[in-house]
């Protein structure tokens, strides 16, 4: 019982620290000087390096989803609904959450390990001594970069997933490219695309904040760096599902799912 209480205390302290870290992020974001060059570097680095992974994941998900769903829809004679069904499920839910989870593993752990390693090798101290605010230079730029690039990655991931789905339909059902994507765009509405894009920003924010937080307060030693990277992924993944639940709940109120 005492152990559970201690664990709960630690968890609550961590939530408190993360909240303080988040408020500091918002405060520092609007303070001069702005690190535009580093922000662009990070956007390029995060977007470019995650693109292939996101595209492959999206492509496979599109293929698998269509292959798995096809027999059931055929049983009900509703195979013509495939583009609508796949597009709505991918754009609303599967695309954003899956891309976010992939990026949590790829970007979140990378940020945690990089900043953690900079902490233990005194690079962050060196930065501070040279008159640079390391929070602005390292944290603000990385969090903004992942917040801005994740929605773009989600859009690319969705597009590739839909292309994967089209390939299956083309091979199995002889559906043309124009017909398939006509049905896709006819079935998608503002209420499908907009909430998914908005929640992608929050997913990006969560990935960046948790990764940076874990790295910035990394304990000394190489074990600390490994732990920071690992816990960044675990904590972010949990947070992504919580954000997703809240996003769906709010979307339901405004767009009447």
């Amino acid at each position: 019982m005492r152990k559970i209480k201690a664990q709960l205390d630690l968890f609550l302290i961590e939530i408190g620290d993360l909240t303080y870290f988040t408020s500091r992020f918002f405060k520092e974001t609007f303070k001069r000087p702005f690190e535009f060059k580093e922000l662009l570097n990070q956007c390029y680095s995060m977007g470019n390096k995650s693109l292939l992974l996101v595209a492959i994941t999206g492509f496979i998900i599109g293929l698998v989803l269509t292959l798995q769903t096809r027999p059931t829809l055929m049983e009900f004679g509703a195979v013509s609904w495939m583009p609508s069904m796949v597009s709505i499920s991918i754009v609303r839910e599967i695309g954003p959450i899956l891309t976010a989870l992939v990026c949590a593993g790829r970007i979140g752990s990378g940020i945690g390990a990089e900043i953690g390693s900079m902490r233990v090798t005194e690079q962050i101290d060196a930065m501070e001594v040279s008159g640079t605010n390391p929070f602005k230079f390292l944290v603000v730029t990385r969090v903004l970069a992942v917040t801005l690039t994740l929605p773009l990655l989600v859009i690319i991931g969705d597009a590739v997933a839909l292309f994967g789905s089209f390939l299956v339909e083309n091979v199995k059902g002889n559906v043309s490219f124009v017909l398939y994507f006509n049905q896709v765009f006819n079935s998608l509405e503002f209420g499908d695309i907009m909430p998914a894009t908005i929640k992608s920003f929050f997913f990006g924010l969560a990935i960046g904040l948790v990764g940076c937080y874990k790295g910035y307060y990394c304990k000394k030693g190489t074990a600390g760096v490994g732990k920071a990277a690992n816990s960044a992924v675990v904590f972010t993944s949990l947070l992504l599902f919580i954000i997703d639940f809240i996003a769906v709940f709010v979307t339901d109120i405004f767009f009447d799912l």
Binding site: E114, S117, M118, T121, E122, Q123, D125, A126, M127, E128, V129, S130, G131, T132, N133
Partner: protein, 253 residues
């Protein structure tokens, strides 16, 4: 147990009075004092874990002291706001124990980093390039300009870190264990380099070490940090022949 010469206060570039710092029940600094004079090499010696690094981190505002005052060039750093502290830090060079080179940047970018931060001092880009090359020439590593830190040996990393620390032409240099982790030959080279640079730029240096050889060669004056206080002050010759058992044991070990 002090042996201070009477030196005019305007010659004091750095002064610590009654510095205290604890981590829970662990009282690391219990009222530490020091004065660093213009163009002086002051060595702080103490055993591992005696609080030397804590003291030097308090000195540049990387760590907050529990109490006491720290005056750097007549500015009490405990009372400065962040902006004023950043400006003051341009006059302080810091050589970290593990070099602390930014490993995602090349040697050139590492050296340019402080210059970009203090761009008002170095507005011209051509000038900036020349400053980087001059700094690397000073440490004999001009050819390493486009290498990554991971491609350098420990001694070379230390030299680049020294070049970076000196690039803003600081008035005070802080060295945290400059010879730790180096073989005796490379350690000697670094010490010689420190002496050459000190002569060339006339900087005041505060050197933290537990390397007795380093202290013997480089110190004008020494302070022994024992039990969190400035236990003894004097020249190397004075302290190394001292009768006090704690000091004696220190030099024996």
């Amino acid at each position: 147990m002090t042996n201070n010469k009477q030196i005019p206060t305007q010659d004091i570039v750095l002064e610590i009075k009654d510095l205290r710092k604890s981590f829970g029940d662990n009282h690391v600094l219990n009222g530490f004092n020091l004065q660093l004079h213009q163009s002086e090499n002051l060595v702080i010696m103490g055993k591992s874990g005696s609080g030397k690094s804590v003291m030097i981190k308090c000195l540049v505002g990387l760590m907050e002291a529990d109490s006491g005052s720290i005056s750097v060039m007549h500015n009490d750093i405990t009372k400065l706001d962040q902006r004023a502290l950043d400006i003051l830090r341009a006059d302080i060079g810091f050589l970290f124990q593990g070099s602390a080179l930014y490993d995602s940047m090349t040697v050139r970018e590492n050296l340019e980093f402080p210059l970009r931060r203090h761009s008002k001092r170095f507005k011209d880009d051509t000038n900036r390039d020349a400053i980087v090359i001059e700094a690397l020439e000073n440490v004999g590593l001009k050819d390493a300009i486009d290498l990554m830190p991971a491609e350098l040996s420990g001694g070379m990393q230390k030299r680049v870190a020294l070049a970076r620390a000196l690039i803003l032409k600081p008035k005070i240099m802080l060295y945290d264990e400059p010879t730790s982790g180096l073989d005796p030959i490379t350690a000697k080279e670094i010490i010689m380099l420190m002496q050459v640079i000190q002569k060339k730029y006339g900087t005041s240096s505060l050197i933290i070490t537990h390397d007795v050889d380093c202290a013997r060669v480089i110190s004008d004056r020494m302070i022994l940090l024992i039990d969190g206080i400035d236990y003894a002050t004097g020249t190397f010759a004075e302290l190394s022949t001292h009768k006090d058992p704690k000091i004696k044991a220190f030099f024996k070990n």
